[in-house]
């Protein structure tokens, strides 16, 4: 049993649904018509491209190519995090890519070898989709965590300095902000994990069930992937904030405003 192909008519019906948000936007003057259409268009083009590309990659199933593709995902994810932050690309892209690669690819290798027990760790059918899920979640958490950390540091500059003048080391003075950013960025993933199955059926599980897997297999995978996502997210955001703590302050422990965009 395999999933039924969606026909062209089906796709047209699906796109017709977009009329609803467009009409709402028009009536309430949300000015979201452009972005809605653009988002739908971009999604379609990107997924079409990825669809063809993945068919090719899966058929070839070349470890090197799979690794390169995952690294490309890592770079795009890091770039997206920076795009959504106040930090300059040039100063942070390399450390961020490194952090993403180390934590997510590390988790991926562990997952494929010990949890699924694959012979070929880089088998496209597992390596690429699971990488997508893990990196995608890390990406979301990093946008929250990094922005939160930068905001807090700037908002509480006086408090931070007064901690320093009370004898704190940089790490000691920043600990409260590190703590808050980690909690804020991890909380959505935790909440997801706690409500999964009841409130929502995750995409991967839905996909596997529609694709013909038994719900029990789908659940096994779902449990495993949720844990992998959670752990990779925690490691990734922790590493990124530590990198920030190390890089965004000068030798005197003062926040380097020159590393922010627009300076």
């Amino acid at each position: 049993m395999s999933a039924t192909d969606i026909t062209l008519t089906g796709i047209v019906f699906c796109f017709l649904l977009l009329m609803i948000p467009v009409l709402i936007s028009y009536h309430l003057n949300l000015k979201l018509i452009g972005s809605t259409l653009e988002a739908a268009f971009r999604m379609t083009v990107q997924l079409a491209f990825v669809g063809f590309f993945l068919t090719f990659v899966f058929e070839l199933n070349n470890s090197m190519l799979n690794i390169v593709w995952v690294l490309f995902m890592v770079i795009v994810a890091s770039y997206t995090v920076l795009k959504n932050s106040q930090l300059k690309y040039s100063s942070f892209i390399i450390p961020l890519v490194t952090a993403f690669a180390v934590t997510n690819v590390g988790m991926l290798l562990y997952f494929n070898s010990f949890v699924i027990g694959l012979d070929d760790l880089f088998e496209a059918r597992y390596f690429i989709p699971i990488a997508g899920m893990v990196i995608g979640n890390s990406l979301r958490a990093n946008i929250v965590g990094i922005n939160d950390f930068c905001d807090q540091i700037q908002r509480n500059e006086n408090r931070y300095l007064s901690s320093l003048s009370l004898g704190a080391e940089k790490y000691e003075a920043l600990k409260p902000y590190l703590r808050k950013s980690l909690i804020n960025s991890i909380r959505p993933t935790l909440a997801n994990m706690a409500t999964v199955g009841i409130v929502f059926l995750p995409g991967m599980m839905t996909g596997q069930i529609i694709g013909g897997s038994s719900p029990l297999t789908a659940i096994e995978y779902q449990i495993a992937i949720m844990i992998a996502i959670y752990v990779a997210t925690v490691m990734n955001i922790m590493l990124c904030v530590l990198i920030l703590m190390y890089r965004v302050f000068d030798e005197y422990g003062i926040f380097r405003k020159d590393l922010l965009k627009g300076t």
Partner: protein, 211 residues
């Protein structure tokens, strides 16, 4: 401090500034708002680097390593009372968990300081951000005294206190001969015998120039 210049944008805050303070000395720094009093303290703590000129501490010229040492040796109370949030007791716990302050916490001394500064013990269970200006100042004073330092940089620490408390606080800091105290204040309570007054306005008039 020798020939220290600080500029912000194209505005000069301090120019060719010289000053020295000896161990055990009590110094009052005054001058109109915006003249750079607080900037002086920020320079001493390495929160700001002078555009030219050199600062010395115990004969060592200022650099990043020295700045971190000074922050551990000096008790600084900033004029901005935003020094923490949450329950006062937890704040104290956090501050005394820093390596530099470990083992310095003395509950007995805390209790006696609270009494001396007319604070009830239950102030420790209140949230710092909900305290009044005067209460915040007194908590900051208590923290600085509990960290057992002997050099004090005090930035407007008596502004929100009543006359009686002002006198008490000044007594505390001026009375200990081994302490080095530099206070920024508009309160005349600080102008006493044995306190050297540095008037920044006057100093600035005959100060040097910056390149």
């Amino acid at each position: 401090m020798e020939g220290v210049c600080v500029t912000a944008g194209d505005r000069s805050i301090l120019s060719g500034f010289d000053m020295s303070v000896a161990r055990g000395e009590k110094v009052l720094i005054k001058g109109r708002s915006g003249i750079g009093k607080t900037t002086l303290f920020r320079l001493m703590l390495g929160f700001r680097v002078p555009s030219s000129g050199i600062l010395y501490f115990e004969g060592r010229p200022m650099d990043a390593g020295l700045a971190w040492d000074i922050r551990k040796r000096v008790a600084h109370i900033s004029q901005d009372s935003d020094i923490g949030e949450g329950v006062v007791r937890d704040m104290l716990e956090e501050i005394f968990s820093y390596n530099a302050n470990k083992g310095h916490f003395d509950p007995e001394k805390l209790r006696s300081l609270l009494v001396e500064l007319s604070l009830q013990e239950d102030v420790l269970d209140k949230k710092f951000e909900n305290l009044s200006g005067g209460e915040k100042q007194r908590i900051a004073i208590i923290i600085s005294l509990l960290t057992k330092k002997d050099i004090f940089l005090l930035d407007e620490i008596t502004s929100d206190l009543d006359a009686k408390l002002k006198r008490k606080v000044v007594d505390m800091f001026v009375g200990n001969p081994s302490w080095t105290v530099m206070a920024i204040s508009h309160d005349s309570e600080w102008e006493r015998d044995g306190v050297r007054v540095i008037d920044l306005e006057k100093l600035q008039e005959d100060a040097g120039v910056c390149d």
